[in-house]
Symmetry: C2
Subunit: 462 residues, 2 copies
């Protein structure tokens, strides 16, 4: 518990209306998408950067833990106060789009801006912000930067880090810093923005984000490739991309997901004999280029055994094709009462082997493991389905299977997390992915920003 005098001091900074300690608020800010719950000691809503600075300076002096929070939609507990302390909520006041600079194709936002709100705003003036995490409707750009969010369009357009040009941030000692510039080239000083991205709120509180924008592509079409097996679909992924295809997205559904979709959504029309499906969009500045792209995909899919290639003739048809992918996650629940889902990522050419081995691990423990996700960038959502979550043995086996999958992925040159981060959920697996030397370096970096360990402490296994 935080001493009353500390809360009084923080109240003197932000005002009565911007600090809450009542039960309703503590509960409202105790959760995220992990379903773990940790109540904070207080929730504070800074009005602006200076508030953030004043709060951090005081908390640093008194060694009070601060956990920055956007929308609380993370999958690994990054925004949970798992070690107590104060939630610093950026979504109430620090949620403005500050500038859309059309001449330099740059947007400047506060951290609490919702991803989709920003996408829509820039598209209205003919610009485009590609990173589209599945949480785009509710997650904040501050959270996106802190977790280095990905999304479906990463196959062509990259991820959040590829769009961050500059950050303003407050260090734990209250110092306000600027990292990066509104310029394409900038090599003066250390790339501090580079290390703040994906640092999960453990190094500094981001207060302003400068994002690169690109011209909005004029044309878009949706395609679907149908394959007899997971293996042939996975082979088509890396072969088609290596042969020059450059789709916006290349999403994957395996045979279990297809089965689940048919069961849960009987109205959805999915090819009868599909063992694996690839779906995505192509975009371009001309229709001719769209046709080129579709042809490359079609030919390459065929060479790798596809049994059908469907192109949506309009947006409506496109939406129908996308229905299956958009509903893959809820559909998998037909296989169990609890889903242990991970977002592993491997070099694309390893996808066929990785999927084969993941199913084998599932078989060994008796789990169905439906898989889907962003095959175009090697990032797959793997779901170990526990039939009875009250069965301790089954749950324990599920976690063992997950650990084996992590080991497999790391052995293949892949990563524990393509998009979701480490937070608290994946912290126990950090030793699979990193050596003691690497963990020591992480701890030293953490200490160089936050010597008193007040900012989101003990996350990421640190």
């Amino acid at each position: 518990m935080i001493d009353k005098k500390h809360l009084e001091y923080i109240t003197s900074i932000v005002g009565d209306e911007n600090i809450k300690t009542d039960k309703a608020h503590l509960i409202a800010f105790c959760y995220d998408a992990t379903r773990s719950r940790f109540e904070p000691d207080a929730v504070v809503f800074p009005r602006h950067e200076q508030d953030v600075s004043d709060i951090l300076k005081y908390c640093n002096e008194h060694k009070i833990v601060i956990v920055p929070r956007g929308a609380g939609s993370g999958f690994t507990g990054g925004a949970l106060p798992s070690n107590g302390g104060i939630i610093l909520s950026l979504e109430r006041h620090m949620n403005k789009i500050l500038e859309i600079d059309m001449q330099n194709m740059v947007g400047v936002v506060q951290p609490g801006v919702i991803n989709m709100q920003f996408q829509k705003t820039v598209e209205e003036v003919g610009l485009f912000y590609p990173p589209d995490p599945a949480s785009e409707e509710y997650s904040t750009l501050g959270g996106n930067v802190s977790e280095n969010a990905g999304g479906m369009r990463a196959a062509k357009y990259g991820i959040t880090k590829d769009y961050v040009m500059a950050l303003r941030a407050v260090l734990p000692n209250g110092d306000i810093i600027v990292a990066g510039k509104k310029t394409i080239k900038d090599v003066a000083g250390y790339n501090v923005a580079g290390i703040l991205i994906a640092s999960e709120g453990t190094l500094a509180v981001i207060t302003e984000i400068t994002l690169k924008l690109i011209p909005k592509p004029k044309f878009k079409k949706t395609y679907m490739g149908v394959f007899p097996s997971v293996n042939s679909a996975m082979t088509a992924v890396f072969k088609s991309l290596a042969s020059g295809a450059n789709p916006v997205a290349m999403e994957f559904l395996d045979s279990l997901v297809i089965k689940a979709l048919k069961q849960k959504f009987p109205q959805v029309s999915l090819p009868e004999n599909a063992g694996g499906i690839l779906i995505g969009d192509v975009d371009a500045s001309s229709l001719a280029e769209i046709e080129d792209q579709l042809n490359i995909l079609k030919e390459s899919f065929k060479e790798n055994g596809s049994i059908d290639f469907i192109v949506a003739q309009d947006e409506e048809e496109g939406k129908k094709l996308w229905f299956a992918r958009r509903n893959a996650s809820p559909a998998t629940m037909v296989f169990g009462t609890k889903k242990l889902n991970e977002d592993i990522s491997v070099p694309r050419s390893k996808l066929p082997e990785a999927l084969d081995e993941i199913y084998k691990i599932g078989d060994k423990y008796g789990f169905q493991v439906p898989c889907f996700g962003h095959a175009g960038d090697g990032n797959i959502h793997v779901n170990v389905m526990v039939k009875d979550k009250t069965n301790e043995k089954e749950m324990a086996d599920g976690h063992k299977a997950i650990e084996e999958i992590f080991q497999l992925v790391v052995d293949m040159g892949g990563t524990l997390s393509g998009e979701h981060g480490i937070g608290i959920s994946k912290a126990p697996f950090m030793n699979i992915a990193f050596t003691e030397a690497e963990m020591n370096l992480f701890r030293n970096i953490k200490k160089s920003f936050d010597p008193n360990n007040i900012l989101n402490p003990f996350k990421m296994g640190l």
Copy 2:
């Protein structure tokens, strides 16, 4: 001077043939493109990563300074032993291309590989590595990563950091670390690769680099836009790019450079009444797209007052158009005996104003300031021409003019260095660009990697 016993120990690691202390070697490794000279105490050629680790571990224990060096082609003294110590030369042994992974479109190299050698190797198999610093014929990829090298193609394709997927590196304590993966998405742990890029050899010695490749564009054409004034050319830069043009490069020559070229290379045919020139390539996967791109450029240039738009009909004609840009740097020497050249970078929309103000600063001190460079990404090479370099007053004025230019650029949201880094040359100007809080953070980061300050110490104003 380093104690003889230390040199003997290092000899026991690398062998007699890989450590040099004779005068010829000390001179051969004392320079870079700054023309400053600092002789090292010894030059060591590690054979492999383990050598690097053993050397660093020993030198860290005995607080011996190590300066990593690629080709020594840097413009700011990053590879100079300005505080003595041992040059660790990566170019003799650690210069192999280890893998071109066509399936994942990734290259893996040792740090001593020459940029152009890598470009040529990947192009032979239909792939493309875009970063093309002017030093591409001789600079190493390790140096490119350490300085975050740019180049002409940055306008469309970005800079070195946009292609680094993973690094292997040795910390000053000898620990070998891996940062990043051969995957498009990876958000596990801090983005250590992100901060090693552009760290100018002050944090770790890079021993292996994994680089993203893209399919080689099939078609390319060269264009030249002729403008009546610098201001109209600079306006056309940001207006054309904001209107959807996406050229590989958009290089700029101002009227002084054009004048110098005519004087120095009478055979070069340059438009009579040109006050500013933009030159570059467009590339695409189809000829139709090339035409589209050229049309957008031509129209947009016209709207901004261009008086001519030339398209090279073949590669030979293209080379002729490029001749002027390629020889801009030597041509400027017609204006003086000493060139104080800086590579400032501003948001593109600030280019017209920035150039106006830079010329005014030149006028104030009586200097001609020919400018050219990578206007498409806002990065301009500014050359303050000193007529008599033996005149102390004139040299002092030149440095004052440079300092004013830096202040101007920073006030406009620009950076001290778009490509060349800080090293020792720009270290005195760091206080213009960074606050004490930011410099403190840099020092803390440096300390977290290198507590004994043995690795390229005191560079970047640290």
